[in-house]
């Protein structure tokens, strides 16, 4: 890439920076194993004819995020709403790589097969609509995080004893956090749960407003939406989804909402978020 704009000195500085050893991100020993298990789980979901088949034998990542805050307490860089120099990036949907040899997403969804699987699931896995588990229903919050029919539940007000809005100290004193030794959040920091990461991958806690985001791994919403679901399945479980272009919100308990993020029509990220996430 040689042209008049070639920033020789700046280019060298960038190469030097990207070679800096401080870019290293430590990870725990079990991280690789957990990723392999996570991949297996995704594969099973893709091929599963029934929802119940995936509820057993599930392992998820144990440790990539755990090891991080102890060496580097920087708050997660969630987004940069202030970015204003997006230029022609704005309004364009990100395109997938088109390299014939290597195209990370091109075959992620065979529409015919996906549809088949979806129908298969619909036939064999009846879902309970969200209305049966009203957010904020009396007593409902106390049962968050308990196991209903296999998978633990996320929401509507938290995950088990961990509640949206709960302060870092309360969460630590209750023994909920795995890496509480890392200290309280400065701004916004990520934590993992003492119970492991089978159900919840990461919790983001804001210094000012407490538990702000709970990101699911294996957990599902009380209405039954979980990672790997199609948009139709999530819509069925949560009528009145609000959003478009792959990102949808649904009301959870008072002061909280679910965020469903889809990639190629499949739920990729599921999180419960505070309506007042502070710095997160």
């Amino acid at each position: 890439m040689s042209n008049a704009d070639e920033p020789d000195e700046l280019g060298q500085d960038l190469r030097r920076l990207f070679a800096d050893e401080r870019l290293t991100v430590p990870h725990s020993e079990g991280a690789g194993e957990a990723i392999v298990a996570g991949a297996r789980r995704r594969r099973r979901r893709r091929h599963a004819a029934t929802g119940s088949a995936v509820a057993t034998g599930v392992l998820m990542l144990a440790g990539v995020a755990v090891a991080v805050p102890q060496v580097y307490d920087s708050p997660p860089h969630v987004a940069s709403p202030a970015d204003s120099d997006d230029g022609d990036a704005r309004g364009q949907e990100p395109a997938e790589p088109t390299t014939p040899e290597a195209s990370p997403e091109e075959d992620a969804a065979d529409p015919g097969r996906e549809l088949h699987e979806q129908r298969e699931r619909e036939r064999t896995t009846p879902r309970s609509p969200a209305a049966e588990v009203e957010p904020g229903e009396p007593g409902n919050g106390e049962h968050d995080g308990m196991t209903f029919g296999g998978d633990p539940t996320l929401g509507p007000g938290g995950y088990g004893a961990l509640r949206i809005g709960m302060g870092f100290e309360d969460a630590r004193e209750a023994g909920l956090l795995a890496n509480a030794g890392a200290g309280p959040p400065e701004g916004c920091d990520s934590y993992t749960l003492a119970e492991g990461t089978d159900s919840v991958r990461t919790v983001r806690i804001s210094a000012s407003t407490g538990v702000a985001v709970i990101i699911a791994s294996g957990a599902e919403t009380p209405a039954g939406a979980e990672i790997g679901d199609t948009l139709d399945e999530v819509s069925e479980a949560h009528p009145g989804l609000d959003g478009d272009a792959g990102t949808y919100r649904a009301k959870a308990a008072e002061g909280a909402h679910y965020l469903f993020e889809f990639d190629e029509g499949v739920l990729e990220r599921l999180s419960l978020r505070s309506d007042d996430p502070g710095e997160c």
């Binding site: 890439m1 704009d5 700046l10 280019g11 960038l14 920076l17 990207f18 800096d20 870019l23 290293t24 991100v25 990870h27 690789g32 990723i35 392999v36 996570g38 991949a39 297996r40 995704r42 594969r43 893709r46 990542l61 990539v64 580097y72 307490d73 920087s74 708050p75 997660p76 860089h77 987004a79 940069s80 709403p81 202030a82 970015d83 120099d85 997006d86 230029g87 022609d88 990036a89 990100p94 395109a95 790589p97 040899e101 290597a102 990370p104 997403e105 075959d107 992620a108 701004g187 916004c188 991958r201 990461t202 272009a245 792959g246 990102t247 993020e261 990729e268 990220r269 309506d275 996430p277």
Partner: protein, 164 residues
């Protein structure tokens, strides 16, 4: 499937440290790096046999998937943030190991796609054409994004220098 799992496990074992580093360069922080790497690897691992058949270099494949995922996730999160009207996040520069690195701080200000172009070029050493293919954009766009990014980095670095 057991053989595939074993093969994938070996790949993860050897590629994970490098991918985490790359994710750190791409996202600017280790938390998002871990999140991005985990998601990308799980997706690739879920169809490992196909990926293996398609590419000789699965690491490059995962890196490019990460760049695309990062750009599109940023868009989603930004949309979410607009909806939720989140106040601009406050940074925590005190615990950032690159706190005294003006170039790192300047990189933080770049929109994700510009940053991705810079990372693909100076971290991965890709050509303009390869970057265009990786991100699914035209070479012209790569050129314009790169020069915007460089101009922006230069001007921020100038400001920093003048302030000191």
């Amino acid at each position: 499937m057991a053989g595939d799992d074993e093969d994938f496990a070996e790949f993860v074992e050897s590629a994970l440290p490098g991918l985490l580093r790359y994710g750190h360069a791409l996202t600017g922080n280790p938390h998002d790096a871990a999140d991005l790497v985990q998601t990308a690897l799980e997706k690739v691992g879920a169809r490992w046999r196909e990926v293996r058949r398609k590419t000789q270099d699965p690491t490059a494949y995962v890196r490019r998937a990460m760049a695309n995922a990062h750009i599109s996730r940023w868009r989603r999160t930004r949309r979410e943030n607009l909806v939720a009207d989140i106040p601009e996040r406050q940074g925590n520069p005190a615990s950032d190991p690159f706190e005294h690195e003006p170039l790192w701080q300047a990189l933080r200000e770049l929109p994700p796609r510009q940053r991705a172009v810079i990372v693909l070029r100076y971290y991965e050493g890709l050509s303009e054409q390869e970057i265009a293919r990786s991100l699914g954009i035209s070479q012209g766009t790569v050129k314009s994004q790169a020069s915007k990014a460089i101009a922006s980095l230069r001007s921020r670095l100038t400001v920093v220098t003048e302030e000191q």
